[in-house]
Assembly symmetry: none
């Protein structure tokens, strides 16, 4: 019997997954948590075999939670996330996570991955792994990303410039360079583009 802890702040998805896992004969859901702190506490109290952790949680996120759990109890951790990017995958593997599953995968796969991880194997979503290997890194420089971040809420060029202690012309040049690289036409399109890819 594999003892499983589930942590997700969204009640609907957490209870749905828990209900589905309870239908499996070899799985036992021993805890349901709605944030990272309580997941750590419950994991230390119950030492589950596998912890299924959502990445997007208030307070401690999934990776931080996994790191704390892995430092204190001999459990294994699986990260589940809606926006799976190579960057977070690297962060998760660095924290010692054994499973990485995006929410773009059907719910049936969850039980299979839990069994894999409980058996001592690792599981990483092949699509994300391929992305991470091909290393689709941002083509933008650090400073260009700074400018996008500083202007992410619709600030004017002058405000970005003063926030970054630059001249307005320099900011415009950075923006122009970004738009050229991305093939876009305006700053807000660039910030949307960058946000969708996890660059900012």
């Amino acid at each position: 019997m594999i003892r499983v802890l589930i942590a997700d702040d969204e009640d609907m998805i957490r209870t749905a997954l828990a209900a589905l896992l309870r239908l499996e004969d070899d799985l036992e859901v021993v805890a349901e948590c709605r944030d990272g702190e309580s997941a750590v506490a419950e994991a230390q109290r119950l030492t589950p075999d596998v912890c299924l952790l959502d990445l997007e949680m208030p307070g401690l996120d999934g990776v931080d939670t996994a790191a704390k759990i892995l430092r204190s109890v001999p459990s294994r951790c699986v990260i589940v996330t809606r926006h799976a990017r190579p960057g977070v995958l690297r962060r998760a593997l660095g924290a010692g996570v054994d499973g990485f599953l995006p929410k773009s995968r059907p719910a049936d796969d969850v039980a299979a991955v839990i069994r894999e991880v409980a058996a001592g194997r690792r599981y990483v979503d092949p699509e994300i792994a391929a992305d991470a290997l091909s290393d689709e890194r941002s083509p933008l420089t650090d400073r260009e990303l700074d400018v996008l971040r500083a202007g992410a809420r619709g600030e004017t060029v002058a405000e970005i410039a003063s926030a970054l202690h630059l001249s307005a012309g320099t900011v415009r040049n950075h923006v122009s360079s970004v738009l050229g690289k991305l093939g876009l036409a305006s700053r807000q399109q660039a910030t949307i583009h960058a946000r969708e890819r996890g660059w900012i």
Copy 2:
């Protein structure tokens, strides 16, 4: 037997809900869709009793999808959403939706709400309903909101104008009116402001 269509772009939550609903004796999941367009097509082909629509979907969002379905077939629609705000509730009810359920509710409630709606009753999450009654309505007119929606992804004024079959000057006037009402300085700030409040 209540025939149900499910639409959600996130495979994990959609398949999980479908699997749970299939366990109910009186429910039959007749279609699973991953976007609004295919949901409309399937609804027209199958005329399900209840359509369970996620709000956040690429292309047509849940409310737009519900509006299209309700105009063409005698189905009933339930909107499910992670970010439930009074603004979207109003928009949903305006489109003729019969159920409104945030994802902060456990998965068990989904079947119950589907039965309510199939029986001809309406269901609105009481917490959101209370918020909607107490909170202020958007000071913007319908057309102004249309303009913000059409420009939400950084489109240029000319693109907004042609999308809405307006002249560029009219679009600029609407934008100017919006900025005056909200005390802001640029369109992107206005779209961020409106999105945070669920107006678009």
